[in-house]
Structure formats: structure tokens, C-alpha cells
């Protein structure tokens, strides 16, 4: 079946612009995660959605970052007024209820110039 997909695969934007990244999870997966992977660093947790519960936003680095998810479908991560330090690969993962394995998408490489 189809895996987690993300779009765009690459995004180059100018400092100060807003960007929106999209994640399509595997159908039926109730949990969805966003991570950030900066060059030479491990994955950094950003936000977690579980069904209709309030999202866990504890990893968002600033109020310029926000994310939404409607039900158990698509999620969008929005970064406002982008800064050069936002340059990274943004990874989305989904997980079915009752399991431990997160299934990752290929990521969106964001470059802020």
C-alpha cells in the first residue's frame, strides 16, 4: 500500500516568507508526528497528533511554527517569517493505534536563503 507522502520534496524560500509543508499519512493511522532534521543532527520532535485529542506541541521551537491536522487525514506544518536557522529536512511520520512503529515519509528539504 501507499506509504507516508510529503510535499513538496524541496522548497527554497526567502527569509521572512511563510511556508507550508504537507504530510499525507498512511490511511487509518491515528497518530501523526512532525520532526526536524538539521544538517549533522538527529531528528528533533516538533509536534504530535493523536486522533481528535489536543496535539502535543511541546517540541515547536517558536510561535512561528504551527501545525494542523483534520481528523486522521492530511497535516500541514506552517512556518511563518522563515529564518535561515529553519533550514532543515522536515519529516512526517504516522503510526497505527496500538503499535510502536512510526512510518516515515521521505521528508521536505527546506532551504531559507
Amino acid at each position: 500500500g501507499a506509504g507516508v507522502s510529503q510535499s513538496p520534496s524541496n522548497k527554497v524560500t526567502e527569509k521572512g516568507k511563510d511556508v507550508e509543508l504537507r504530510c499525507d499519512p498512511i490511511s487509518g493511522h491515528t497518530a501523526l508526528y512532525w520532526y526536524r532534521q538539521r544538517l549533522g543532527q538527529g531528528l528533533e520532535f516538533l509536534i504530535y497528533f493523536q486522533g481528535n485529542s489536543a496535539p502535543d506541541k511541546s517540541g515547536l521551537p517558536s510561535d512561528r511554527f504551527s501545525a494542523e491536522r483534520t481528523g486522521e487525514s492530511v497535516s500541514t506544518l506552517t512556518i511563518q517569517r522563515t529564518q535561515q536557522e529553519d533550514s532543515a529536512v522536515y519529516l512526517c511520520a504516522s503510526r497505527p493505534t496500538g503499535t510502536y512503529e512510526q512510518y516515515f515519509g521521505p521528508g521536505t528539504r527546506l532551504t531559507v536563503t
Binding site: G3, V4, A31, Y33, Y35, G40, Q41, G42, L43, E44, F45, Y48, Q50, D56, G59, L91, A93, R95, Y100, E101, Q102, Y103, F104, G105, P106, G107
Partner: protein, 116 residues
């Protein structure tokens, strides 16, 4: 809070040689442990996991890892590597807590480069 240390950022190895990728973690609570592999331009894929039971776990592609609680380590091994094993490998942990959301804490990754 948890932290994961992968001391080796790069590991070069010849094909058919054995390899060990090191992972150490720090946590005030018990954790589950994972190894993920990331091939070029692809998402992360679960290689293996330790949840409970035998401390030696086997994963896909001939990899195995051993959980050592006293040394807080979860090193990944393969007795004979192949060119196709060239990838980045990430160690990760998550607390054994209900309601923890399964948030993973990752190490910085080890780039395995297999050479002919």
C-alpha cells in the same frame, strides 16, 4: 528527559567485513529502543526494536542489536556487510509510559559507508 549518543558520525567498512554501530542512551525512566535506517532520499525505516524479553534482537537485512541495561547501550551489529547497507543509521528511544505519545528521541546518526 532522554538523550541518545551515537559517538561515530561515520563508519567506513569493506564489503563482507563485520560492523558495529554504537549507541548509548541516558534516561531517568525505562525505555524502549529502536534502530532506524535512512537510505539516500528516502524516509526512515525501522530496522529493529527492543521492547522486552531477550536482550538480543534481530532485525531486517541481517542486522541485530543487543540491549545492555547496565551499560545503557544498544549497539547495532552485522557480521558481514553489503554495499547496499550504505546508509545512515539512527538509534532512538522512547519512555515506557502510557500516554507518552510514543515520541522518539533520536541520536545524531551514523553514516555507514561500505566500500569494495
Amino acid at each position: 528527559a532522554q538523550s541518545v549518543t551515537q559517538l561515530d558520525s561515520q563508519v567506513p567498512v569493506f564489503e563482507e567485513a563485520p560492523v558495529e554501530l554504537r549507541c548509548n542512551y541516558s534516561s531517568s525512566v525505562s525505555v524502549y529502543l529502536f534502530w532506524y535506517v535512512q537510505y539516500p532520499n528516502q524516509g526512515l525505516q525501522l530496522l529493529l526494536k527492543y521492547l522486552s524479553g531477550s536482550t538480543l534482537v534481530k532485525g531486517i537485512n541481517g542486522f541485530e542489536a543487543e540491549f545492555n541495561k547496565s551499560q545503557t547501550s544498544f549497539h547495532l551489529r552485522k557480521p558481514s556487510v553489503h554495499i547496499s547497507d550504505t546508509a545512515e543509521y539512527f538509534c532512538a528511544v522512547r519512555p515506557i509510559l502510557t500516554g507518552g505519545g510514543n515520541k522518539l528521541t533520536f541520536g545524531t546518526g551514523t553514516q555507514l559507508k561500505v566500500e569494495l
